[in-house]
């Protein structure tokens, strides 16, 4: 069961975990990313490529389902303006085995960072704006899976 959501609204990680746990695998891994504060950041503006986003996320999920034996995968990514502390992304997996669940969750996040068409713009407290740049460590993490 693959569930992909791209939306402006917030999500409830607890509900997503419950839905995956109900599939009966016994092992549910979950990652939530939020807007990290500190410095001069006020908010992030999340832009995406609507015609491509779901397709790209589904490809990642399909690949994870090939690599590990999973009962379910949920990927949620928010778009629009998100304040410091707000949730941005959720990746969750359900498997019979904890390592499979955790590894697949890690894989999904690594791929999402490099092949899902989202762009973050920082909006600072003084009103200035800055497009976030790709991090080499994210590229390295994604390629380390040898897809």
């Amino acid at each position: 069961m693959i569930k992909i959501l791209v939306m402006e609204g917030d999500f409830d990680a607890g509900e997503e975990i419950k839905a995956l746990a109900a599939l009966g695998g016994g092992a549910v891994a979950n990652f939530v990313g939020q807007v990290r504060g500190g410095g001069k950041l006020a908010a992030l503006e999340l832009e995406h490529y609507p015609a491509m986003t779901e397709k790209a996320l589904r490809k990642i999920a399909d690949k994870a389902a090939e690599k590990w034996t999973l009962h379910g995968i949920t990927i949620i990514h928010r778009v629009g303006q998100l304040q410091v502390g707000e949730q941005i992304v959720l990746a969750a997996t359900c498997s019979d085995h904890r390592q499979a669940a955790i590894e697949a969750c890690s894989y999904i996040m690594d791929q999402l960072k490099t092949v899902a068409p989202f762009w973050k713009k920082e909006i600072r407290l003084d009103g200035s704006e800055n497009w976030v740049e790709e991090r080499q460590s994210d590229v390295d993490a994604a390629t380390s899976w040898n897809d």
Binding site: Y49, A51, M52, K113, P117, K120, K121, W131, E133, E134
Partner: protein, 87 residues
């Protein structure tokens, strides 16, 4: 029949070009994304500026990531954008 192609832009590419999308007619000599970009750059200083460093750009043809040497074929939509930064 000339190949009409929709181009969509995102992030700073969109902002610097001042447009989110446009439709271009590919010259008959243009077969790849790289050649199309070259032709756009030759036509207008703004493209020349925004597309000056191709290493900072990524491309998707009909919503699939491709490289500069990808043939345009009969694609309907080309997307040009910087490396993604979601998650």
């Amino acid at each position: 029949m000339p190949h009409q192609l929709d181009i969509v832009y995102f992030s700073w590419v969109k902002e610097r070009l001042g447009r989110a999308q446009e439709t271009v007619v590919c010259p008959e000599t243009v077969h790849t994304i790289g050649e199309l970009i070259g032709s756009l750059k030759a036509s207008d200083a703004l493209y020349q500026d925004v597309f000056s460093d191709l290493k900072k750009l990524r491309f998707a043809l009909d919503q699939d990531f491709v490289g500069l040497d990808a043939p345009l074929g009969n694609a309907k939509e080309l997307a040009i954008f910087p490396p993604v930064t979601g998650g």
